[in-house]
Symmetry: C2
Subunit: 514 residues, 2 copies
């Protein structure tokens, strides 16, 4: 095998079967090996931020890493923002970045830069130095990516090593299971949760899905405690049949309002929540100071087992829960605003859809609207680096070909990585994108108000306003090969959603919001 | 003044009057100060790669830095690829990146990352630590950007320092002039150049424009030496009235073919040229080993004064040159391929246009076609990080409102930063973009062939082919507010170019290439 073939065979044996790629000259042996080694599906993104965001979405839904293939430092740099989101989501991602031939590096040719420094900002990184070690290097990278709770791992592979002959693949050892929290922390959590509604079980990370989430529902049913989840979970199971969970606030005053009456918080898979920004007059920690905080399970520990132990301590019946009923809102009509848009999505959402939410200010009502909709997975912007929605939806659709993906996308953020639409078209993915067209960086207009700028001047207006000229998403989508319509009322929103969700392949609906 | 106002006043006093911006919450005091401080024009880019590429184009044409305003680590990361190109072009660029409030940094909130590590990969970087030093910090950053031959400088400014009161601006000291090479190197260059056509004067950096270029013309006229320029100059003055200059090759075999008969090379403002990639069987250095290489002036030295001293040594008459005549090709007709496209541009090019060339494989014939066209500036992809053309053209147009900008843009590369079209529309810039639509990463198809992959498999085809579905640039441009047409023959290309160049504002022409 060539080095490239050995690398891919190692990855394939570890269960990696998708490669989101935008390669260049230094990755050509790996591109050729995708054909000769086989078993890994290449998916082209027209910009690296599409590839990395798709790998994030894939990893969140599949629970195992996708691979990316990126070109040198600039290619990795273009993908860093969505790798930052993956880092905050604890998504396992394997980046393979080609490098100049080992003998060419010292001459500092135009495309040379410090790839390692870039990769280190988002997680684990190493350089391959010998062709014979390529399989072992890749195995170490996969192991790093899979280390609980999951991380971004980058392997930098010089082109001459990729092209070397007679290289053997390696085996990736099974990842160690995450550690189980000590009994004393479980006992302390039980003690706190015994107090009912004055205690909040605060979920994050892996606690927002699967077996861990079911245990949280059992605990709430048995104790009457409140369940709150972090503001931006990587993936949360929601809708009919899942435990009802309150969402933590974005602004500090929202968070402290929500926690009124709570004097104990049990953290399960979540860090002690901190504010997105250091707003003047506020604090970094979001939980009011009088609240006692206990850690049941850190993000890198087995939160499912910890929650199961707590549920057992209460002898909570298996399957009991504070489950939401199936009671979606009625299909809305009339004015199309963020509330009727959320209702339209909730009313039409297919069972087991994946909802990717980068709606920013426009998706505030969505969380409540979806509570009693059909069961679904909800993916959010974990790291605050905008331009995540369209790529994440793309990767989620590749991970879950039998599920519908609905992407609520703010217009300003969506423009960062609109190239993802083309990949959706090429791969014929069942993604329905809804662009929330308010023609503004609305969150920044709100921030200016909060900062006391009552009347923004021309510069502030110019930098927060996306009209002049307005953007035409119907044309942009069509230019990328995705059929699109513009809707201006709630009635047509419902109709177009129903139509898009009934047809195969990607669709885009530009929602002109009041 | 607030810290933000003091920072901007310092920048303004140093001659910085344009800010390419995509700010976020941590830059709001700077956004407000753009209004209250005044004198700096804010230009919004819908993606940070547009802002940084525009700052590069602006700096190349204006000869002084523009400022960018970017949001935290992810905002800077999105701009890094074009900052990499600026680094290789030695363009002075001043990045101001907002950071979390100083008291908020330690809590590692979701948008926190190692901004400094990212910025260090492209040049000078420092963090502001005290509000009272903001003016001085900014002055140091401007001085760093202006240090010969010019570089990218990044200042990271926490939001609370921006908002602090009673901060005074600072003065930016005048930049030291670049050092003049020692007399011995000038004498050695004179000795070599005396030998006529067996010696090549190899121009790079500042030697490709202005007074330095004129001196090179004098020298060639006096000595009969060959003049060759680096393959990808940041900015080169070309066309009628400028010295005729050969272009160095891209592939090693082209370079060595060009240098046949040459046994001495005098480097003027250029480094010893190295290959873009380490191709198997080739070397990193592009000049054949038998050639003796002399350095007249390094990129950080005054190449204009060095060349003037050489010209004086030959007593070359002032104004003498091997100037190109005004003899543009006839307007082409018939099939539209890369040759007739180049002829169409050369035939219609207005006087003193700025030609931004990210045409990749499609612009190979452009260099020759433009040699005797109207005088113009030619800007190329210095760092190989694709997605530079549209943003660079945007910044060049802001720097030169009285000049027409023509941007030859490869389709695959153009998709990286197509958001630049919107900024061209908003600012009503006189930019004519020609998309070279070959629906492929053609250079990669060539690289696969060179690597011996005679018959690419399905993976290699999928990753180098941009059809399935095809991209519709007419719709993409219209979606961004730029009028566009598609042309399929050389005749219509000429007609549409003439029309676009006669009208104000941006235009896009999608050239379907045979």
């Amino acid at each position: 095998m060539t080095g490239a073939e050995a690398l891919l065979a190692t990855a394939r044996a570890a269960g990696i079967d998708v490669c989101f790629a935008n390669p260049g000259t230094t990755e050509m042996p790996l591109v050729a090996a995708l054909d000769s080694a086989g078993g890994i599906r290449p998916v082209l993104g027209l910009f690296e931020g599409v590839c990395t965001g798709a790998a994030d979405g894939f990893g969140r839904m599949a629970g195992r890493p996708a691979m990316t293939l990126l070109h040198l430092g600039p290619g990795l740099a273009n993908g860093l923002a969505n790798l930052h989101n993956a880092r905050r989501a604890h998504t396992p991602v394997l980046n393979v970045v080609g490098d100049h031939a080992t003998w060419h590096l010292a001459c500092d040719s135009p495309l040379t830069s410090d790839i390692r420094a870039l990769a280190a900002t988002v997680g684990w990184v190493d350089n391959s130095r010998e062709a014979c070690a390529l399989g072992a290097d890749l195995a170490r990278a996969v192991s790093a990516a899979a280390t609980a709770p999951g991380q971004v791992a980058t392997l930098i592979v010089p082109a001459d090593l990729q092209a070397a002959a007679n290289v053997a693949p390696a085996l990736v050892p099974t990842a160690a299971p995450p550690p189980i929290p000590e009994v004393s922390r479980i006992a302390a959590a039980v003690e706190a949760l015994r107090r009912g509604r004055s205690t909040a079980l605060f979920l994050g990370g892996a606690a927002c899905r699967g077996r861990a989430l079911a245990q949280a529902g059992r605990i709430a049913a048995a104790t009457g405690c409140r369940i709150v989840a972090e503001t931006f979970p990587a993936r949360m199971e929601r809708g009919a049949g899942t435990p009802r969970i309150e969402r933590f606030g974005y602004f500090p005053e929202q968070a402290s309002g929500l926690m009124e009456g709570v004097d104990r918080v049990v953290l399960a898979g979540a860090p002690d929540p901190v504010a997105m920004f250091g707003w003047p007059g506020a604090r970094s920690r979001m939980l009011p100071e009088h609240i006692a905080v206990l850690s049941l399970a850190r993000p890198d520990e087995s939160v499912a087992q910890a929650l199961a132990a707590v549920a057992e301590a209460f002898a909570a019946p298996a399957g009991s829960s504070t489950a939401a009923p199936f009671q979606p809102p009625a299909a809305p009509s009339g004015v199309l605003d963020t509330y009727s848009l959320a209702a339209a999505i909730a009313a039409t959402l297919p069972e087991h859809a994946v909802v990717v939410d980068e709606g920013a200010t426009s998706s505030v009502p969505l969380h409540t609207a979806l509570e009693c909709a059909a069961p679904h997975s909800w993916l959010t912007l974990t790291g605050g680096a905008i331009g995540q929605g369209l790529p994440c939806a793309t990767g989620a659709a590749i991970a879950c070909p039998d599920r519908r993906v609905v992407c609520l996308q703010a217009d300003g953020s969506g423009l960062y990585t609109l190239q993802a639409l083309w990949t959706q078209a090429r791969e014929a993915l069942d993604v329905t994108t809804i662009i929330c067209a308010n023609n503004a960086y609305r969150i920044l207009q709100i921030e200016l108000m909060r900062a006391g700028v009552a009347e923004p001047g021309p510069a502030a207006r110019a930098l927060t306003n996306l009209s002049e000229p307005g953007l035409d998403w119907v044309k942009l989508a069509a230019g990328m090969g995705v059929p699109a319509v513009r809707v201006e009322t709630a009635d047509t929103m419902v109709r177009e959603l129903e139509r898009a969700l009934a047809e195969p392949g990607p669709h885009l609906i530009e929602a002109t919001l009041r």
